[in-house]
């Protein structure tokens, strides 16, 4: 009797394992990691876009300041009396 219960439990466990295996969702060999990277970029498109705009904007500010400073420096150089 005990043996029968044991084999029944073993059979049920095997069936459960089998069902778990056939219904398992993550089968690594079929995962396309490239799709994830593709969607990831789309998701972050606004972030990358904003970063780029910020960079261009920042570069223009720096260029503007450099231009103003060089103009001021040029003017002060021409106004300095020669000895």
């Amino acid at each position: 009797m005990r043996n029968r219960i044991g084999s029944l439990c073993a059979s049920v466990a095997l069936i459960i394992c089998f069902l778990w295996m056939v219904t398992m969702k993550d089968v690594h060999a079929y995962i396309d990691l490239g799709s994830g990277s593709f969607l990831f970029q789309i998701l972050l498109a606004s972030l990358f876009s904003s970063l780029f705009v910020l960079k261009v904007f920042w570069r223009r500010i720096i260029q503007g300041i450099t231009k103003v400073l060089s103009t001021i420096k040029g003017q002060s150089d021409t106004q300095t009396p020669r000895r």
Partner: protein, 437 residues
């Protein structure tokens, strides 16, 4: 010599590469290997459009043989090429580190067929590859250990981002570039891996501005990675007590004399340390590969090469006891060390005692191995009485009765003909010039 067939399926992209002026621009900037086209009659298989013959690369090296700065320079070269390509309406469809080689001291793209027409709205097809081939190994070397570069040898298509993410310390999650391009990227890959994506769908837009932002972000991520100042027992080898100045100068004089006498076309300097002696060959215009197993020494050697704008010296990381094997599909995608061409001359200076005593290799086996590689060998023998060899034996039993100069000459004479043997002044070391039998 390598020939490549451009198939008809790539005709449009190939024509655009040449027609747009991008090819000329990149070749002139030293960023892309130049090629010549062969007559149509040479087509290898149906569906072919052109056969091209790229300029040969003297020595093919692999990312797992590069030091940190070499990989970083290769990554930045890829980004530079992509930026230039965008200006000409093209993009890179591959960002494999294997597509970059070192030619005349600088990283260069060798895959002429990596270019494709840029399609407005499409994300970067090679984003994942760039992160796996460049960003992940660089981050691991920067935050964990320089030896992590060898992981690229196990994972031929780059280090999986999930693995990189799990290996990187938690503090890297506070670094926005690594949090986005490695940690979040890895998590997202896993979560959305089962989704079917129509990559041509017009609903999914990735503007040109976003594309440029992505490239800038990757560039900053790569540039932002630093290697902690490395100092190992090997990096100050020449500054330490290994040599007297007289011995060092005399050794330089002897090696230079051998090089001038033989005038080899190529030299491999095994155990080159920071490349001081390999550089003697490079300075004479000889193609030289300076191998060492110590990452820090190779890093120092590469930086010296870059600073001096050297074109003939290529420092590489190589563990002689476990040299790069054949890997990849059918064990033939990446070659082992020997298959990549033998040098005319091999230099093994202050190396034999490490192999014979520290690594228990019989002298005869070392000679046999050297013989398989070269025609000429410059080998230094250091006797047991030398302080460096004595140091190796300090904490172990001397089980090397065969390690004598007489035995060394006898074992090497089976494979080589000893042409010259010169004692290095102010030392007990002897330098041999040998010719393969």
């Amino acid at each position: 010599v390598i020939y490549r067939q451009v198939n008809l399926s790539c005709q449009e992209d190939y024509d655009l590469l040449l027609g747009s002026g991008l090819y000329e621009d990149l070749v002139n900037s030293g960023l892309l290997v130049c090629h010549s086209e062969l007559p149509e009659s040479t087509l290898i298989s149906p569906g072919g459009y052109k056969i091209i013959k790229p300029e040969p690369i003297p020595f093919i090296s692999y990312p797992y043989e590069w030091c940190f700065s070499q990989l970083q320079d290769a990554a930045l070269t890829t980004i530079r090429i992509l930026k230039r390509a965008l200006e000409f309406g093209m993009s890179l469809k591959d960002a494999s580190a294997y597509n970059i080689q070192f030619l005349r001291g600088k990283p260069i793209l060798i895959d002429t067929l990596s270019f494709e027409k840029y399609r407005e709205g499409a994300p970067w097809a090679a984003y994942r590859q760039f992160c796996q081939h460049f960003l992940a190994p660089l981050a691991l070397a920067s935050y964990r250990d320089t030896g992590m570069g060898r992981l690229s040898q196990l994972h031929i298509d780059g280090i999986p981002l999930e693995l990189a993410s799990s290996l990187l310390p938690i503090r890297t999650r506070l670094k926005p570039s690594l949090q986005v391009h490695i940690h979040l990227h890895a998590k997202f890959q896993r979560n959305s891996a089962k989704q079917t994506v129509d990559r041509t769908s017009s609903n999914r837009r990735f503007s040109r501005r976003a594309f440029s932002g992505l490239i800038d972000s990757l560039e900053s991520a790569v540039k932002g990675l630093r290697l902690n100042p490395l100092k190992t027992e090997w990096t100050d080898y020449y500054d330490g007590d290994s040599y007297s100045q007289t011995a060092f100068n005399h050794k330089i004089e002897l090696v230079t004399g051998f090089l001038n006498e033989i005038r080899p076309t190529s030299v491999w300097d095994l155990g080159s340390n920071t490349g001081a002696f390999g550089r003697l060959a490079g300075n004479l215009g000889i193609q030289t590969i300076a191998f060492d197993q110590d990452q820090a020494s190779v890093e120092q050697s590469y930086k010296t090469s870059v600073d001096r704008n050297e074109t003939n010296v290529l420092p590489l990381v190589l563990d002689l006891l476990n040299p790069s094997p054949k890997i990849g599909w059918a064990n033939s995608e990446r070659m082992d060390l020997i298959d990549r061409g033998n040098p005319d001359m091999l230099m093994a200076l202050a190396l034999i005692h490490h192999l014979a005593i520290a690594q228990n290799l019989p002298l005869g086996m070392i000679a046999d191995f050297f013989r398989t590689m070269c025609q000429w060998a410059v080998v230094e023998f250091i006797p047991k009485s030398d302080q460096k060899v004595a140091l190796l034996l300090a904490n172990r039993k001397d089980i090397f009765p065969g390690y004598t100069q007489q035995n060394f000459e006898a074992e090497f004479s089976r494979d080589f003909e000893i042409q010259l043997a010169q004692r290095i002044m102010d030392s007990e070391r002897t330098l041999y010039l040998m010719r393969a039998k």
